[in-house]
């Protein structure tokens, strides 16, 4: 286990990703690193419900395009709670609207170590 992954130990990480294969891949990786995964969930509605029902969230990884909806309401909710998060997307950074430009962005296919470093480094 790398030192980046070690930083995950005990962290509660929310995953929002609509693609099943990518979601369980990420989940497995975070869990291997000792993190507790919240979700993964594939939609805004489920993500908002999970956030509302969870007291402690240390970080979040958000896919931007969730089938036919965009993840920004989830970003707003996390921002309001002061939870650090990043976007994982196949789109160019240019498509992110100005209110969310400051959010860190990882291009797919994402490198879990880069994600860990960005969130907890």
């Amino acid at each position: 286990m790398s030192s980046d992954a070690a930083a995950l130990t005990g962290k509660r990480v929310l995953l929002v990703e609509d693609d099943y294969f990518i979601a369980i891949d990420l989940k497995a990786w975070f869990e291997e690193g000792g993190a507790e995964v919240l979700g993964p969930v594939p939609s805004v509605e489920e993500a908002l419900a999970l956030i509302a029902g969870t007291d402690a969230i240390d970080a979040a990884v958000l896919d931007i395009n969730l089938q036919d909806e965009l993840v920004y309401p989830v970003a707003d909710a996390l921002h309001a709670r002061g939870v650090p998060f990043l976007f994982a997307t196949g789109y160019d950074p240019a498509v992110v609207p100005p209110p969310h430009r400051a959010v860190a962005l990882c291009q797919k296919p994402i490198d879990p170590q880069v994600v860990a470093r960005t969130l907890f480094g």
Partner: protein
């Protein structure tokens, strides 16, 4: 005899014969003037005795007077004397006569100009009856240089009276206007060509002063913008430009004077369609002899469709990039998950390659989906065809309404179908003589909205004993059905394997508008 204005400048008589004859008189009348250029000489020396006119000495005063007048004139004049119209003309006329001169002198008009004999017959009839004729830009075909050529002339005919007061000849002033007529015709043709071009091409055409104030706008401008003719003039044309683009237009014009070119894109209001469309406006500077810009000739070209196409393409490229990057993530995940089940080795290679092929097929469908929406039937048939299964025609039954799948659902659905199909080939319906596969679907309304129900039923199976089969069949395919579809598509699924049948049911939300028509 020097006469002001007679061309060429009068020269002293050179020919001794001419001067001798010029001095003779028979009836005590005045004689022909000396000089008067080439024709003066020719007339004086011509052997008129061979003609009905007789020698000059015998000519009546009226004839002498008429010939003197025309010889002195700088205007092309010909005298047609007597019933036959014997021709006597001046230098200016000899230029007009071309190759016919000098044979024309002294000949009968009918023979001198055989190609227009009828015309001249009429002239002689009218003239000798005391009448006058006048033609403007009269077109006649003459053979002055051996070949027929159209010629335009201003022709004025007046009778010349003899001493008895009777018309004895016709004097004709012949001014050729061919050059002017052709020039005017060319100008008209050029103008017509410009009008045709300006009104026929789809571009809006206009002329503007050096500052951009409109001088003229083509009918297309009027028709497109709905402005009346006056409305577009001056700076009126700016009213048709989108308010957000007026500053761009003004800036372009300010810079045009210095750069000598004008090119900018803007929206222009279409009156009939009541909407703005994008145009590209370009103009070329029209310059005077010193190179100063005197006005601009411009076109405005509708590029709205092109821009929309470009925007669509940009969206498509972004989507494609998104899909591709996502796909790499999916491939990596599938490789890892397959490896976890098979371990490294031949089985991994086989299963991973199969799954890559399925992914590849669905990318093909997705890339064409804008022209050809992906239906559930297409997806099922694509996966079954890829199996290349024996007796598929007789073993497989497919049926259901036309169901269009959302692009976002297609990939996961296709992978699940691929696992079902692969399992059917390796462990299921295609492995026994009596095995059959039925894939049917329907749309139904339920409490939680409109849903798509698909049944995948394999019958006539023979389960070999032992747990090996169950783990194989229940492997990755079962995980996709029971976990991936509920996660990604909010599907409710059931996967039931008995001794002789496999029954897999997939029930997923299918919002209104995703169905079009139905198939038997």
């Amino acid at each position: 005899m020097p006469v002001a204005g007679s061309p060429p400048p009068s020269v002293p008589p050179r020919a001794p014969v001419g001067s001798r004859r010029a001095g003779r008189r028979s009836r005590g009348a005045s004689t022909l003037p000396t000089g008067c250029g080439e024709l003066g000489d020719l007339v004086r020396t011509y052997d008129w005795a061979r003609t009905p006119l007789g020698p000059i000495a015998d000519w009546p005063q009226s004839l002498i007077f008429a010939v003197s007048t025309l010889l002195l004139s700088p205007v092309p004049i010909v005298l047609l004397w007597g019933p036959d119209g014997i021709m006597i003309y001046n230098d200016a006329y000899s230029g007009f006569a071309g190759g016919r001169h000098p044979q024309l002198l002294g000949s009968k008009v009918r023979e001198g100009w055989p190609e227009v004999a009828d015309f001249n017959d009429h002239v002689m009839r009218v003239g000798l009856a005391g009448g006058t004729l006048s033609y403007r830009d009269q077109e006649l075909t003459l053979r002055r240089y051996g070949r027929p050529e159209p010629v335009w002339m201003n022709l004025d005919y007046s009778p010349v009276f003899d001493e008895g007061g009777k018309p004895a000849g016709v004097i004709a002033i012949v001014v050729e206007s061919t050059e002017r007529v052709l020039a005017e015709r060319r100008l008209r043709e050029s103008e017509a060509l410009f009008r045709t071009l300006a009104q026929g091409i789809p571009q809006l055409i206009w002329r503007a002063g050096i500052d951009g104030a409109c001088i003229w706008a083509s009918p297309q401008w009027i028709a497109y913008t709905g402005q009346d003719n006056d409305g577009s003039l001056g700076w009126g044309w700016l009213d048709a430009v989108h308010p957000g683009d007026v500053a761009i237009a003004r800036t372009a014009w300010q810079e045009a004077a210095a750069s000598g070119r004008l090119s900018y894109e803007h929206r222009l209001c279409n009156a009939p369609g009541q909407r703005y469309r994008w145009f590209q406006t370009r103009a070329a500077a029209v310059r005077d002899g010193e190179g100063r810009i005197v006005e601009w000739l411009g076109t405005s070209t509708d590029i709205d469709d092109l821009r929309q196409l470009q925007e669509r393409q940009q969206v498509m490229v972004a989507e494609l990039q998104h899909r591709t990057r996502n796909l790499i993530g999916v491939v990596r995940a599938i490789a890892k998950q397959t490896m976890a089940l098979t371990g490294p080795g031949e089985l991994f290679k086989e299963q991973f390659n199969d799954r890559l092929s399925a992914l590849s097929r669905v990318q093909g469908l997705l890339s064409r989906s804008d022209q050809e929406p992906i239906t559930l039937r297409t997806l099922i048939e694509t996966e079954l065809a890829a199996l290349n299964a024996p007796d598929a025609q007789t073993r497989v039954r497919i049926g259901g309404p036309v169901v269009r799948l959302r692009k976002a659902t297609v990939q996961t659905f296709a992978l699940a179908l691929h696992e079902l199909a692969t399992n059917a080939l390796k462990y299921g319906a295609f492995t026994t003589p009596q095995g059959s596969l039925s894939v049917t679907w329907r749309i139904c309304e339920s409490e939680d909205g409109r849903r798509l129900l698909m049944d995948w039923i394999e019958e006539g199976l023979v389960r070999p004993s032992g747990a090996q089969d169950a783990s194989l069949r229940g492997g990755y395919g079962r995980e996709l059905i029971e976990r991936a579809l509920p996660y990604a598509l909010k599907a409710r699924t059931r996967y039931a394997l008995s001794e002789t049948t496999l029954q897999c049911t997939i029930n997923l939300p299918h919002p209104e508008g995703d169905t079009a028509g139905s198939l038997p």
